[in-house]
């Protein structure tokens, strides 16, 4: 069984986002980058299968600048087998990214391609379904678990109030919402091995991809307005009296009731 997990490197969730000069993009000077959280879940989900069946091979791929190697190394440190970097400009349109990923998938012939359901930076959620479309494979969204059952896969997806179990024959594309366990913390030998591992590079031309898709232009970017300070009311009385006053305040002060 072979997994191909598509990753994106994004500004880490601990970074305090600032708008860069020009007002059209996030300032990236000196910030910490990491693997997008849903992609981390995708890696974990694949590795859980590898834990269950050690013959499973988990490959990872990213499309973007050389900086993306760090995200790939993190995935290798977690236990993935190999990694591929597709060199491409940072502002490559999402559809072209999907084309490149589909091209890699065609070469590698995995049974399952996993993507995070969306990247935490632009939250478009476009690449995963587009990869399925370019490959002509079915895709299942909101995945939380993948269990092999005979020649097919049981794919668990989260839905309102519960989950559905779909069955799909490989090859298939899965868009991961969460994994059973939290993404694993790499062991130190894992980190060291990942450091030494070679990461082959490909470029768009060698994959037969030409950047031709429509591009989204960001017109302006600004931080949400600062939240005003809250008001503190001192309320007296028993629970009932306080509740009445709170209800009143919610009506008169905040106007939510």
């Amino acid at each position: 069984m072979r997994f191909l997990v598509c990753l994106k490197q994004v500004p880490d969730s601990t970074v305090k986002v600032k708008v860069g000069a020009g007002g059209k993009a996030v300032a990236t000077e000196g910030i910490t980058w990491s693997m997008s959280p849903y992609d981390e879940y995708a890696v974990e989900l694949a590795l859980e299968r590898k834990d269950a069946d050690p013959t499973t091979v988990v490959s990872v791929v990213t499309v973007g600048s050389a900086r993306g190697r760090d995200a790939l190394r993190q995935a290798l440190a977690m236990g993935c087998d190999d990694a591929t970097l597709v060199n491409a400009p940072e502002d490559l349109p999402a559809l072209d990214v999907a084309k490149a990923l589909a091209a890699v998938a065609k070469e590698m012939k995995p049974d399952i391609v996993l993507c995070g359901k969306q990247a935490s930076d632009d939250d478009q959620g476009l690449v995963g379904p587009a990869v399925a479309e370019f490959l002509g494979w079915p895709h299942v969204g909101m995945l939380t678990k993948a269990v092999s059952s005979g020649d097919a896969w049981e794919l668990w997806r989260e839905v309102e109030g519960g989950h559905e179990v779909w069955k799909a024959k490989p090859p298939v594309v899965g868009l991961v919402h969460k994994s059973d366990k939290e993404p694993r913390y790499p062991s130190l030998p894992g980190i060291m091995k990942a450091k030494k591992k070679e990461i082959p590079e490909k470029d768009l031309a060698s994959l037969g991809v030409t950047a031709s898709s429509p591009k989204i232009e960001v017109v302006a970017m600004e931080l949400p307005p600062q939240r005003g300070g809250g008001k503190i009311f001192k309320l007296d009385g028993d629970a009932k009296a306080v509740a009445e006053q709170v209800a009143n305040l919610l009506h008169t002060e905040s106007k939510v009731l």
Partner: protein, 688 residues
């Protein structure tokens, strides 16, 4: 005294002695070889301190005689000192019996008196010990039959000693006439009860019984926990002389293949010696906050698990070593994973050092626990998931909360606190730490300290966003790699500064920078804020008054303040008096103790050792127990003060959960000082 070993009997005694010595020696040699299965470690630094420890801790029994174990401690010390005095006499008996030589001083009156004094003292202590085991039955004691055997042997030795001394005097009554000369005092007392004719036989019988018991003791001892009589000498001599709060460094970590301890071969010989030395007294367990609140951790079990596994699997490993090359032998019979100790035991430890403090024979529990955690975290990636989040946050954001790296210095905004980049010639660097940088409650402590320092005219600056987590949580969670990355980053930053003087308001920052950074080339003059503030008060650089000047209209009030000892100030670094001295110097503050859990018996808040970053699902929460102790101590305190951000967070949560948040307010001592400053130079501090 002429020994009853005339003629052939001296040869019999010689033979029996040789057999006993061989049995003793063989066992000791075997134990030594097992010990050598452990990793090498040098314990020869600070020879004078080691000598001092032998005198104070081994001979002086210092770690036995302490609260709340006064009576038991003195009982043990009497048996031990008696053992030393009587062993001298035993050697004399054997020498005289076999070759007719004698040990020096054994004929003197004062030795006779000493011998008899200890014979009585030991007998009394043995009686108390038996009574305790049989009647009082303290919960922490494993009432093994072994204990009774040993007590019986010791008691029997003393009785036979008195009997043969008395019988000897009685048998010579005629020669000596009515005047006994200078026989031992007990013999003088008991000899009249023994008729002269039976004296000789009784003497010979009791003498032989005594001597054979000594030899039996020597054979039995190294096969029981009473081996500690011998090993404590070495265990104390080879105890850690580096600071208690310093964990061992994994050198050249990027080029190692295995980390931490998973099998007995991964522990050092000294850690294995700890196992031989454990007396199973249970004082460590008695003081463990994890065990007390129903966690699966029992520090004594950690030590005994290692010992038992060594005794169980060690011989096989030695056999394998003999049969093949070392490597092959190991592969053939690999030592098992520390099967007896479960990960959930290891993760329950707060590294509070109550066990280390309590141990009379200087066993080092924390180092073993952290070594095993290192294996779990570094080799298996198996730290508890919540703690993994904290480690990832440290890695990516430089703080376990996962707050933005850039925002680290934000707490100081508007307070005119310079960064060291702005004020490179500052005398002190204030290393703020993650808690005081990001946690809103603890930011108030940082502001209080800044106010105090400004009021005293102390020149200081902070690193701002250039500071990063000191690495303590990572290190104690077993993530030595992340710790070293963090430490190296800070050391690089700090080594580039003009000043070497560092202030911390967090005992964990203090311990790590003062005690652990030197391992990686970071040598600074580090002080925790409270000793510094104490000095500022003593030098009258800050003046305190009951009302303070910071808040206009503030009325003079009296605060009854209970002091909570942070583990990393107190037990780990011996800072007990300074915080108390600061409290005592604040006008309008009445200090109280949370007795008996104060000073070296202070009870952990539950957040150390990375526990701050883990869920606490088993048993009672440690901080809730601490609040119960506070209530039990009946101090009438309106505030409970500490000097640690973790303690503050845990105490805040504790008083809330216990419903006494209105009656007792947790504070940092620094906040109490800042509130009563006379010349308050900034309005930044908002102490309560």
């Amino acid at each position: 005294m002429t020994p009853p070993t005339q003629g052939i009997w001296s040869f019999v005694l010689l033979a029996v002695t040789l057999i006993a010595a061989a049995a003793f020696g063989y066992r000791v040699w075997h134990l030594y070889r097992l010990l050598r299965l452990g990793k090498d470690e040098s314990r020869l630094d600070h020879p004078w301190r080691r000598l001092r420890d032998e005198l104070v801790v081994y001979l002086g029994q210092r770690k036995l005689i302490k609260r709340p174990y006064w009576i038991r401690g003195i009982g043990h010390a009497l048996i031990f000192w008696g053992f030393l005095v009587i062993t001298w006499g035993s050697a004399d008996l054997l020498l005289r019996g076999i070759v007719g030589w004698q040990m020096p001083f054994t004929d003197t009156v004062w030795y006779a008196w000493m011998l008899d004094f200890f014979a009585v003292a030991v007998l009394a202590s043995v009686a108390v010990a038996v009574l305790r085991r049989a009647v009082l039955r303290p919960a922490r004691m494993h009432r093994m039959p072994e204990g009774y055997v040993i007590l019986g042997l010791i008691g029997f030795l003393m009785l036979t000693l008195v009997v043969f001394e008395s019988a000897f005097v009685a048998s010579r009554r005629d020669e000596l006439g009515g005047h006994f000369g200078t026989p031992p005092p007990l013999a003088r007392l008991f000899a009249p009860l023994i008729p002269t004719p039976t004296g000789g036989a009784l003497f010979a019988g009791a003498w032989w019984a005594h001597v054979l018991t000594i030899l039996a003791f020597a054979v039995y001892l190294p096969r029981t926990k009473h081996l500690h009589i011998v090993t404590t000498l070495f265990n104390v001599g080879f105890r850690k002389q580096t600071p208690r709060g310093q964990l061992s460094l994994i050198k050249d970590i990027e080029n190692q293949e295995s980390f931490g301890a998973a099998t007995i071969r991964d522990f050092s010989w000294k850690q294995l010696l700890d196992g031989y030395t454990c007396t199973e007294c249970g004082r460590c367990s008695d003081n463990c906050p994890a065990l007390a609140t129903g966690k699966p951790l029992d520090p004594q079990k950690i030590v005994l698990d290692i010992r038992d596994q060594l005794l169980r699997e060690g011989p096989k490993l030695l056999g394998a070593k003999l049969n093949g090359t070392k490597a092959n032998g190991d592969a053939a019979t690999p030592p098992s994973h520390w099967v007896e100790t479960k990960p959930e035991e290891l993760w329950a430890c707060t590294t509070c050092a109550a066990c280390v403090e309590a141990c009379p024979v200087t066993i080092e529990h924390i180092d073993k626990i952290v070594d095993m955690r290192r294996h779990l975290t570094l080799m298996e990636g198996a730290a508890p998931p919540e703690s993994q989040r904290a480690m990832t946050n440290i890695e990516r954001a430089g703080n376990p909360w996962g707050e933005p790296r850039d925002a680290r210095g934000d707490w100081a905004q508007g307070l005119e606190i310079p960064t060291i980049a702005e004020k490179p010639d500052a005398e002190y660097l204030y290393f703020v730490g993650c808690a005081a940088s990001y946690d809103r409650r603890n930011q108030r402590v940082a502001r209080a300290l800044a106010t105090i320092l400004k009021s005293a005219g102390v020149s200081f600056a902070i690193l701002g966003a250039a500071e990063t987590c000191n690495g303590d949580p990572a290190r104690r969670l077993g993530n030595e790699y992340l710790y070293q990355l963090q430490a190296q980053q800070n050391i690089e930053t700090m080594n580039a500064l003009r000043t070497r003087k560092v202030i911390t308001s967090c005992p964990h920052c203090f311990n790590t920078i003062a005690n652990e950074y030197p391992q990686l080339g970071g040598n600074y003059e580090v002080t925790h804020a409270l000793p510094l503030v104490r000095r500022l008060i003593a030098e009258k650089r800050i003046v305190l008054s009951e009302a303070g000047a910071g808040a206009p209209g503030r009325e003079a009030t009296t605060d009854v303040v209970a002091y909570h000892d942070p583990c990393y100030l107190g037990r780990h670094n011996g800072i007990y008096d300074e915080p108390r001295a600061v409290l005592d110097a604040i006008p309008g503050v009445v200090r109280k103790e949370i007795a008996p859990h104060h000073r070296e018996r202070g009870f952990c808040c539950g957040a150390g050792g990375g526990r701050m970053w883990m869920e606490e699902k088993i048993g009672q929460r440690v901080n809730h127990r601490r609040i119960e102790q506070l209530v039990m101590a009946d101090t009438k305190a309106t505030k409970v003060a500490s000097g640690c951000p973790y303690c503050l967070i845990m105490l805040e949560e504790g008083v809330g959960a216990k419903g006494i948040a209105e009656q007792v307010k947790p504070v940092d001592v620094l906040e109490l000082v800042a509130a009563r400053l006379q010349q308050n130079t900034t309005q930044g501090s908002a102490p309560n």
